[in-house]
Symmetry: C2
Subunit: 869 residues, 2 copies
Amino acid sequence: MSKFVYFVTEGKKEMKSLLGGKGANLAEMYNIGLPVPETFTVTTEACLKFYDDDKVIADEIKEEIFENLKKLEEVSGKTFGDLENPLLLSIRSGAVVSLPGMMDTVLNLGLNDATAEAFSAKTGKPVFVYELYRRFIEMFSDVVLGISRHAFDALVEEVKSSKGYKDTNEFKLDDQLSTIEKFKAIVKKERGIDFPQDPKEQLLLAVEAVFSSWNNDRAITYRNLQGIPHSLGTAVNVQMMVFGNTNDQSGTGVAFTRNPSNGNKEIYGEYLINAQGEDIVAGIRTPQHISELQQAMPEIYNQFTDICETLEKHYQDMQDVEFTIEDGKLYMLQTRNGKRTASAAIKIAADFVNEGLSNKEKALMSIDVNYIEKLLHPTFDTAELASATPIGAALPASPGAATGKICLTSQKVVELEKAGEKGLLVRVETSPEDIEGMAASAGILTAVGGATSHAAVVARGMGICCISGMGELRIDEVNSTITIGDQTYNEGDYLSLDGETGKVYAGQIKTQEAEITDDFARVIEWSEEIKNLSIYANADTPKDFQKAIELGAKGIGLCRTEHMFFEGDKITSVRKMILAANKEQREAALSELLPYQYEDFKNIFTVAPDYKISIRLLDPPLHEFLPHSKEDIEVLAKNMGVTYEVLAQKVQELKEFNPMLGHRGCRLAITYPEIYLMQTEAIVSAACDANAKAAEIMVPLIGEAKEYEYLKELIDTKMEEVFSAKGKRVPIKVGTMIEIPRACFVAGDIAKNADFFSYGTNDLTQMTFGFSRDDATKFLGEYQDKQLLEADPFKTVDVPAVGSLVQMAAEKGRVTNPELIRGVCGEHGGDPKSITYFDSIDLDYVSCSPFRVPVAIVAAAQAVIVNSK
Amino acid sequence: MSKFVYFVTEGKKEMKSLLGGKGANLAEMYNIGLPVPETFTVTTEACLKFYDDDKVIADEIKEEIFENLKKLEEVSGKTFGDLENPLLLSIRSGAVVSLPGMMDTVLNLGLNDATAEAFSAKTGKPVFVYELYRRFIEMFSDVVLGISRHAFDALVEEVKSSKGYKDTNEFKLDDQLSTIEKFKAIVKKERGIDFPQDPKEQLLLAVEAVFSSWNNDRAITYRNLQGIPHSLGTAVNVQMMVFGNTNDQSGTGVAFTRNPSNGNKEIYGEYLINAQGEDIVAGIRTPQHISELQQAMPEIYNQFTDICETLEKHYQDMQDVEFTIEDGKLYMLQTRNGKRTASAAIKIAADFVNEGLSNKEKALMSIDVNYIEKLLHPTFDTAELASATPIGAALPASPGAATGKICLTSQKVVELEKAGEKGLLVRVETSPEDIEGMAASAGILTAVGGATSHAAVVARGMGICCISGMGELRIDEVNSTITIGDQTYNEGDYLSLDGETGKVYAGQIKTQEAEITDDFARVIEWSEEIKNLSIYANADTPKDFQKAIELGAKGIGLCRTEHMFFEGDKITSVRKMILAANKEQREAALSELLPYQYEDFKNIFTVAPDYKISIRLLDPPLHEFLPHSKEDIEVLAKNMGVTYEVLAQKVQELKEFNPMLGHRGCRLAITYPEIYLMQTEAIVSAACDANAKAAEIMVPLIGEAKEYEYLKELIDTKMEEVFSAKGKRVPIKVGTMIEIPRACFVAGDIAKNADFFSYGTNDLTQMTFGFSRDDATKFLGEYQDKQLLEADPFKTVDVPAVGSLVQMAAEKGRVTNPELIRGVCGEHGGDPKSITYFDSIDLDYVSCSPFRVPVAIVAAAQAVIVNSK
């Protein structure tokens, strides 16, 4: 039989998924002897059962709740609903990960007209008791009955202003009583019911409200954004009330055991004397800094700092705690690992190891790896940013902060850069032809396109700040102005972009460069010691490669050759090649390209000739190199010296219904082997001349072993030709992208002739799901809203299918070729959750954009720790 | 150690894959005591090794050849290259399946200047011997040295005309000698070598030539067309020569043991007196009918008919034999199962069982199942066809023969049909809006589009003859004329289309309807007894369903609902639905569609309410229902009463980069559940009113269990609503298409709530290979030419990947749902090879177009026989 409710003595911190974070930690604190009010926890499984049972709390759960309630009564010596000595309860939600928007807390539950009266008589403090009752009605009405607090607050304000009170502390008994009556009238009006008087009914309603709030809109949206599974459910903690508002020897507070913004070793928090927890949040009274407690209640303060130390030692991490002091006695109401800024995370991790509070593994696990990339980008000067007002906001597509002059063309940015100035490229959208301008810009702003638009993807790869999809941005190319909202700016005016928030500011804001601290270096060093996966970067230029090496990459896992085709005059030769009427013409055009490609590759090899550098042969369909609008075709036809009809005809011929599944990748080379032969010649010549020690040639889009064998033979033959001509040999591996589902099934055959498998998990995901990434944005939102997908499969690898394919290919490949190297070069290569999976199936490496490299290094170390559990 | 050469005594008919068909059957005949000249066979494995060794015959193979040659010399008492009693050889290729274009035969090998002279002296027949030598030089030069026969033939003609001979039989010795010298001069001139005099060199060169011819262009093309694996290789048969040209008691012939065109029980063939095998093929002398042999050589004739009977009994099938008579002694040179027409195949199969020569299984296996569909379509009157001259030809896209009046629009065809006349729809290409006209037409002719164009696919489904992609066809809609080549025809003129050959004829040709003979019905009956798979049809209309039932289908495995959306006024409501600005407008438009859909479904259920009828919910992306050209958008906007901008905007919004992987199938219903709700209401209401007993609702494009669960719940709820409203229930199954690779991985979860899996192997193939079917034609030809794919994966299911996915899903599904029904509704459902695979993995059914149903029935029975081996 399932057990749906746990008494505080039965729990421990490892039971988080069952008891929620709050419940598990309350039990842990209780059981290591810290002062925690008696509690029981209704489990997440009870929540899931509640949903399975069509949102009804099953009788067996109710029974367990009431059994535990009895226990609570026994240990507290109070009785729920009793007129003599009533037990009052706080009800708090407790998910595995805390969610904004979920029902949080109901205090003072158990009061009703009769208990309030009896309790007043017993304590002789009617004002205090009716204060509790009044607060309870308001809270319960708000979070359980769903009546807006607004009406209640207005009533309280009315009393305060008519009586000239500053605070409800000044309320007299008749103020409390009359307000309570008015509160009850609101409930009657809004919900048509009398305020529930039965304490047990109150309790069950509150539990139900917590369960229901798991699936309110805000909670769902938050989980979607954060990639938190919808299937976790929430627990509910039912706790004996302790009162911070009993007298001036009472109070309530929150604190971090270290400074969460810079990581300094100091208790950081605030408290209020004679108050309940909600008063701190409400912000009506200004709380005092925690250090002042030392003067006010020195014994309590010392006890509290001791507890903080105990907790840090016990949890081996910085803690975020809540406490209440009832009449000179300290109670701990919550502890959890504290949220912190990226830089604090690094410092705390390093300090904990220094102080012997934690080991490297534990310290590494305390770092939210997603923060790491933020440390690598420029940020705005905090003071200047605080005083700036944004003129608009859109999608934060690539992190960092940038200030520069508005440039409407790539040429303009490049000119500015040459003049030593910073430009921001502002466009409706970017295309591959903008590559040079993008690389030269300090930041990019576009009017259309999402997180996977060309601008966003390229900017992230280059580590350049980008804000995309600003619908209100209008670009007037004739007058060289842009308009955002009703403000117009000229080309050359300054703007500032915050890639973290998506906000755009007029004028300049000072930026500060990222710096890699010693603490950060240590964290990377530990990660290098622990991790199994090698980390490479996706880089197409010497500059990106250089940056990647600085950030810790040990080579290039994916060097795309097609971007190179757009730079400078090369595109003309590319287009000649495409328009070629026969093999001879095609070879002539390719021979024009050869020296360019040679130069491209040589420059890359020269950066670090000893490093792995894996170059992918041409991948996109040829039509990507041709224009598509009538106007553009006309212009190009003139430039190329062909008729409009000839060019338009070629564009038409190359058009595809589903280019994603069309004539691209190695399929191009099956039709036109000369393309890959030229690229092979360029790579091998450059590798020889640069004395490259670990060059690799990667064949994309392989789906069948014979297809690969055919190309492998062509490549090998050409390679031998070049070696003979050069009179020297360098080691060059040849392998495949694995990105077609079929390739995973025939991986054993492919591996016989392949030195490596490089998984293109982007395409593999597209084909395995049947989702075109470019189109899926139209319907994937609906999937997330309806909780039909646990996570965005383009962000985090889908384990059941895509992951299984990756694993299948990895295993089959090793059977026929025990030396086979297997790694991921798709965007999942920089995603921590995906990295954890790739480590678990023993892949050899991941490759990601340069600025994700440190993230990947730390994530790979965390993966080892997680997977070894 | 491998064995590369087998002596005739070592083989048997089951060793076909090693010895080739010819070699295996020679051994079989030899070993059951029939007169076969001594032979040895170089195996297909030797051929494969030859290719592995870079086209060199390995020494070990040469050794085995010469060992076997020695054996041949021993049993024949003759010696190869000997001057006294030379052994002469015939060298014949012998692939597992015979291939046109491969090197076939070299006769008289072993002759050279010296042996010819000695042999002449010994036999005293120098004219005969030098005739052999002359023929040998010509054949060897042609097939081994690759010198065109043309020059040789011209020389022979010269001698004949200068001497006034009718035939080379009249050649005198000096004619032979001088011609031989001239032949040798040609070899010297063309190849720069003396004609090879060493018999062993001749032998090895001939073997090498046979091996090489396996991969000549014609053989490769043929294998590609026929789907024969390139990896089989060919064997080479080396046989002691027997001479049909010794004297008038000699001869050579070919025969079928039954009439191959109608199946009648009579020996059918021809022979030539005093001739070698090649003379029959050369066609210089007219051969005599085999029956004349009875008069000419009665004993030989009786021996031969006895042998034919023996062979039929032994092989349990009609045989195609070659024989030679040397000086009154009969030798069998070949036997194989004879090719036959479709109707002969059926008659022979039935007769063999009647005559007790074969059992049902064996008889069924003798039928080439691909022929069966041909028996179901009309054909032209043979006499009229013979005298007709085609005016053009294009792709035979759907079989059958049709005569009718040219119609340039669908309306025209429909009008004609109402008037009781037959129309041919002649269009540049067809679109879904032509459905009504296509259904009413006798045949369809299009100017563009291939075997998978809309016209081709729909025509095949409807069993209507179609010729597509006729590049030379021009349509002048203004003058209502069409032009083919330089001939112009008016709308209303008669044309005739031959869907078997792709030929188009002017005027009328009488057609005869297909008739299902008793023999055919018996074959179907046996198949029904033997097969395991159920056979259903893909049918969208009552008419198609009716036809499918007549042809043996037991229900509908796939009823597409989208075609219905194009008929009549429905498209207007569909478009209103698409243009709806909100859910209310969308529901209003859907409620207009509801009665139409109800009517569509009721009409289908009414045809056979007890049969399984599986209806797929809407599948295509919405943009397929809207026009795309500016002109068409303008017209529609006017008709719909919206502005051009509104409609153009919607068209733009719905545009997708990769529609195949876009917003379609169940994804539409995740966004707009009301579409599926309307369809469910229509299906369930219609099923209730028609009292349907086995209706099914099929959800397309499922990739995740939760996605299906969500829709299943919607469907179930709506179904219950309809049942309550109707006050009755009918059994309705709900299941999914399995066509997304991911679905196969999570099939266990999906199956929990699914009654059936219907594999859409077309889409599954597209995604597994990453091939867009619409685009892949551009490069798949190159793949076949380069032997990179064994077969067209859209025709025959790819076992390693697509097959594995199907099997994986079938197995996982049954684990969680032992009642799960699993079948294929993609085009592979009608492909015999694929059916064999689907039977082997224990699927429950296949569904195919109505005219493929009999094919599928027989193929399913053959599959059981093959798979039980």
